[in-house]
């Protein structure tokens, strides 16, 4: 079945450093969503990408969808302690979200 691989699994950064997580699929995706889950919390929707090569920004967060629609990335500029959590990519297959393993981000003040 459809699977997505997400790397790295863990990332520890100093506050102010940048952070990037990558999501890769062996098949072409029609769309991809990104979620953030704070420790002890639940997934919260961040963004959805649907177009080849699409780039979307939300303040310090930049999301990209690859030209071949097989990969995606999330980049955070100048991390803050509030960015702590696990970031998941998830293609949406007609309502069925296929979550990657997630990248757990910790930020040292």
């Amino acid at each position: 079945g459809q699977q997505v691989m997400q790397i790295p699994q863990y990332q520890h950064v100093q506050e102010g450093e940048d952070f990037t997580t990558y999501c890769n699929s062996s098949t072409t995706l029609s769309n991809i969503q990104w979620y953030k889950q704070r420790p002890g919390g639940h997934p919260v929707f961040l963004i959805q990408l649907v177009k080849s090569g699409e780039v979307k920004k939300q303040k310090r967060l930049t999301f990209q969808f690859g030209e071949a629609k097989k990969n995606s990335s999330l980049h955070i500029t100048a991390t803050q302690t509030t960015d702590v959590g696990t970031y998941f990519c998830a293609p949406d297959l007609w309502g069925k979200l296929i979550f990657g393993q997630g990248t757990e981000l910790s930020v040292k003040p």
Binding site: P43, K96, L97
Partner: protein
């Protein structure tokens, strides 16, 4: 607007017992989803309701799991009998339309001893 709510927030039961989880979606959301995150693993899809109908139940692990959504409003997920490997966090989500944003509830943390 109230978000997705789930009850209970935590449940500790013994192997062989029955547990029923409840999810109340956002009002007006026809689409309701169940997901599960077992310790250390990714969040996995269980099933998808459109109103009261099961649209996709391909993720249900086995016949010990029974999901219902009578009347197309709230949903229940019953595990009977529970096994140790059923421990994890069970999330419910809802959306207005398919492929639109899914709003997740706080989850039910289930521990089977």
């Amino acid at each position: 607007e109230a978000g997705v709510t789930q009850f209970p927030s935590h449940s500790v039961i013994e192997k062989g017992q029955t547990v029923t989880l409840r999810c109340d979606p956002i009002s007006g959301h026809d689409n309701l989803y169940w997901y599960r995150r077992v310790m250390g693993k990714e969040i996995k899809f269980l099933l998808h309701f459109v109103k009261e109908s099961k649209q996709d139940e391909s993720g249900m692990p086995n016949n010990r799991f029974l999901a219902e959504r009578t009347g197309g409003t709230y949903s229940t997920l019953k595990v009977q009998p529970a096994e140790l490997e059923d421990s994890g966090v069970y999330f419910c989500a809802s959306s207005l339309q398919v492929r639109e944003t899914q709003y997740f509830g706080p989850g039910t943390r289930l521990l089977v001893l």
